[in-house]
């Protein structure tokens, strides 16, 4: 047997042994896999959740007799007690009217009273009407069974006709099947700047 075939014979034994050694060390040296996945919950979250019941992303929708659609959503809602109504956070509502036109309402907090068909928006209430009027106020009571809303407090609005302030505002349908009107009263003051519209 000459040197070459003796070398091949040795390698036939030595190489598989090295492969075996490599394979086994791969599993011994590797870092362990931690199997227990950590659930990402902060202590504060757990306390909040356990303190009271809450509904996340509640959704309330309905259509009125005339066929206007009303949809109210919120980030978070907590059920009310016997006297206190259900409260909600980051309330948003959309009213689609049969005659065309849309209202988008949003506010920081709000309360929903389905028994009285009323939704109350409070805190930086913003109303966007489809003809480009943007109305902001501090409080708005919206009816859920018809297109009716009223803001008892002072209101600011800005749109194509300029910026205006008023003492109060009501959204209502004058004639039952007629168009929806947004009426500002208790002293309206409008400022229209012609240069602004030139640009």
């Amino acid at each position: 047997m000459d040197g070459y075939s003796r070398l091949v014979a040795y390698l036939k034994v030595l190489l598989p042994l090295m492969a075996l050694a490599l394979m086994s060390t791969m599993f011994l040296i590797s870092r362990g896999v931690n199997t227990d996945a950590v659930i990402p919950f902060a202590e504060q979250d757990l306390e909040d959740r356990t303190r009271g019941q809450q509904i996340t992303a509640p959704f309330f929708s309905g259509t009125t007799a005339q066929g206007d659609e009303i949809m109210v959503t919120a980030a978070l809602a907590r059920p009310g007690g016997a006297d206190a109504p259900a409260t909600a956070v980051n309330l948003e509502a959309e009213i689609k009217m049969t005659g065309g036109g849309r209202f988008l309402l949003s506010s920081d907090t709000g309360a929903l009273r389905p028994d009285k068909d009323m939704a109350n928006f409070r805190g930086d209430v913003e109303i966007l009407s489809s003809d480009g009027l943007r109305v902001t106020t501090q409080e708005l009571n919206a009816a859920l069974n018809g297109v009716r809303a009223d803001s008892p407090g002072p209101v600011q609005a800005s749109g194509a006709m300029g910026d205006l302030t008023a003492g109060a505002m009501q959204i209502d349908t004058k004639t039952d099947s007629g168009a929806v009107h947004m009426v500002f009263n208790k002293g309206v003051k409008l400022l229209y700047d012609p240069q602004q519209s030139e640009r």
Binding site: M97, G99, G100, G101, S129, S130, D131, G132, L133, G159, A160, M161, G162, L164, A166, G178, A179, V180, H181, M182, V183, F184, N185, G187, V188, K189, L190, L191, Y192, D193, P194, Q195, Q196, S197, E198
Partner: protein, 145 residues
């Protein structure tokens, strides 16, 4: 119908000044987007003051929608005061950009020199001139300076 054009108002108004409108109520119709001021409406721009019972806002429209106010249609005992001169009528149309006020319906124009009545009065605030037409009648104050 004769027409007479006379000076109206002491100073030439600048139509790009901001327009201020105060009223009791404002009714925005959501179906067609029209806006109506109701209840002793007062429109003020610079020295010009226009007061009426009811003012309808007509928008400037382009494809993107409303871009501004084209004119204001005032109805119901309209009074236009510009400097020392005053004019009364039933109806008035104030086009903001061109600064013209067209008053119609038993117009009464009273100035220090005398009073004129007619059916129609066109006031150009930028040039400070007014032209009356249709049954113009002047009443000269006899004996006053």
């Amino acid at each position: 119908a004769q027409s007479a054009s006379i000076a109206f108002g002491a100073v030439k108004a600048d139509p790009s000044q901001p327009v201020e409108v105060t009223a009791e109520t404002l009714d925005v119709n959501q179906a067609d987007g029209s806006a109506r001021f109701i209840g002793d409406v007062v429109i003020i721009q610079g020295v010009m003051r226009l007061s009426a019972n009811d003012v309808l806002v007509i928008y400037k429209q382009d494809e993107t929608g409303k871009t501004g106010v084209e004119r204001l249609e005032a109805t119901g005992d309209v009074i236009l005061v510009n400097g020392p001169d005053a004019a009364e009528a039933d109806k008035a149309e104030y086009t903001i950009d061109s600064g013209t006020v067209v008053m119609t319906g038993n117009v009464l124009l009273s100035q220090s020199t005398g009073t004129l009545t007619s059916n129609r009065l066109v006031v150009d605030l930028t040039t400070g001139t007014a032209s009356l037409s249709g049954r113009v009648k002047t009443i000269l104050n006899g004996g006053s300076d």
